[in-house]
Symmetry: C2
Subunit: 292 residues, 2 copies
Amino acid sequence: MSDNEIRPTLNVDVVLFTVVDERTLKSGFWNDSLVEPASLLRSDETGLSLLVVTKASEFGRSLPGSAIGPNERVEEAAQRIVREDLGIRARVRLRDAGFYDQPGRNPNERALSFSYWGFVAFNDLRKVLGGRDEVGLELVNSKAFMTAYAEEHGGMQEFDGISRFGLRLMPNRTRGHKRLSSVEVSGRSILGLDHDDMVFYAWRKLRYAFKGQLDPFRFLGVKALGEEFRLSDLQEFQDVARGSVTPRDAFRREMLGDDSFLEPIGKVDSSRPGKPAALYTLNSTLNLDEQD
Amino acid sequence: MSDNEIRPTLNVDVVLFTVVDERTLKSGFWNDSLVEPASLLRSDETGLSLLVVTKASEFGRSLPGSAIGPNERVEEAAQRIVREDLGIRARVRLRDAGFYDQPGRNPNERALSFSYWGFVAFNDLRKVLGGRDEVGLELVNSKAFMTAYAEEHGGMQEFDGISRFGLRLMPNRTRGHKRLSSVEVSGRSILGLDHDDMVFYAWRKLRYAFKGQLDPFRFLGVKALGEEFRLSDLQEFQDVARGSVTPRDAFRREMLGDDSFLEPIGKVDSSRPGKPAALYTLNSTLNLDEQD
DNA sequence: TCAAAAGTGTTCGTTTTACACCCATGT
DNA sequence: ACATGGGTGTAAAACGAACACTTTTGA
C-alpha cells in the first residue's frame, strides 16, 4: 500500500434545486436550449416546476463541479462553485449528499466526487442563466410529469415518490424501498457521467425538507416562494418536491394548525381564476439560520 | 489552485456496533481493560448493552481505521479493515456514515476521513478481541445508562434518543433537533481525535434500523440476536439501539401484527425468572441481502 | 405465597381519511 | 350561469397511549 502512487482527484459537484412557476419561466427565457425538456417552455401548462441547475461540459449537460483545492474543505469548494463558477450572489445553504467513487465513473481519470445539494430562489438564479458555460435548467419534477407518469403506471399508491431522475416504490414485506433509475423512469439518461444518480440522491434529501417537524424554508435556508404566497402554491411546492400528492383539505388543515409557521398577511390574490386566495408569509419568530 | 500541492491523506474509520447481554460479556472476558467503562464487567446488571469496537492507537482508544489504497474504493478499504485489521471472518454489511474534513482534526497531518458503519454479531466478534492491537469494546448505550441519565434530567420525554456518545433533544417550534455531544452527556471525551462524533453520527444511522418499515435484521444484515430470541430481548435491543423506551404492550402488538417479520418457533424459554417466554425467529421469507 | 416477567382486554382520546358542500371571483 | 379554484363541516375509521388485569414460572 505504498503512498505515493496515483490518487483519485477529488471533486465536488453541486446539485442546486430551484422552483419556479411555468409562467415566469416562459416569460423570462431567451434561449430555449437552456431549459430541458424544451416542451416546458412551449406548453401551456401552469404550476410549479422543480428544476436543477446544469451547465455544458465535455460530457454533455452536467452538474456544476470543480476540483477541491489542496487546502480547501469540501463544503468550501462547493460554496466556491456556487459563488464563482455560477456567479450566484445569494447565500446558499449546502448540505452533504454523499460521495461517488466508482472506478470508471469518469472515463478520463480516476475521480472521487463529493456531492453537495442546496436550494436557491429562482430570482437569485435567473441572472446567471446562460453565459459562457451555458448555465441552464433541467426538469426534475412537476405536477404534470407526476400525474402523467402515475396514470400510465396504475396510480400513485405504489410510489413513495416520483421524479424524472428516478423514483422509489413503496416498501412491502419482502423487499424494502425499491428504486428505479432515471433510465427506467424517463427512458434515457439525462445528464452526463453519473450525475443522474447524484440528482436522485440529492432529491431524496430534499424530500426530507417536507417531512420533518421543521418548516421547509428554515430547512432549505431560502424563501423559495418569495415573501408572500398562497397556500396552494405551498402545497404544489411540497407535492413537486416530494414527488407525491397530498389531499387539499388535509394539507390546509395541517399547515394552518395550532403551531403553524405561517402567518396570514391579510391580503388576497385575485390574479388567477377562481375565488381569491388568502396570502401567507413566514411566521416572524422564524430564523433561517438553523442546523439540521 | 495548482494541482500538485499537498493533498489530504484519505482514511476510512469503521464504526462497528455489536450487542451483547451482560452475562455473556462478563463470562467471556479475560482482560478488564478492553471493556469500558470497566464497571460494566463488575456490575450485576442484566440486560443488553450496545457497544462499539475500538482499538489502541497513538491517540488513546479509537476506531479501527486505515489509509485508503490508491486504487481502492472507500467501501473496499472499510471491508479490508474489518477483515484484515480486525480479523473478522463474518460478512459484515457496511454503510456510509459521512466524512470528516475539518482542518486540524488530526494534529499530525491534514487528513480527510470517511466513516463507515456496520453491525456484527457478538459471536463473530469475541474471537478477535484482545491481541496486539488491543481490540476492545466501548459502551454506547444500555438500559441502565439510559434510565440513570433520564432520571437525573427529568424523564425521557425531552429526549429523542440517548447514548453515551451524545443525544438528541426533541425538536420544538423555535429550534429543530438539538444535539448534545459526548462531553456534555458523559462529562468527558471518550475516544481519540473526532471519533466520538463519528460514533454519534453512525449511531444516528443505526437508529433508522428500527424506524423504517423493514425489520432491523434485514437492514443491519445480521441476526444480531441469534436464531431464536424472546420478544423482550428484541425490545431491549430496539430500546438500546434507539436510545429510547417503548411501552411493553405496544411493542408486543406492533411486532406481532398482521405482517410481522417474526415467526413463533413453538418453544419457550424458562431460563430466566418469571413466566416462560415464547421464542421467535425471523420469518423465512426474509433474505438478508437488501439495499437500503 | 410472593416476586417477576409474559401476555391480554378494554377504554378513551386523538389523528387521519374521505367526502361533501358552500363561497367568491372572472368570463 | 357556470367554470374555477378557495375554504369549511362532519362523520367514520384507524391509531395510539394508558392502565389494569390474568397467567405461569422459580424461589
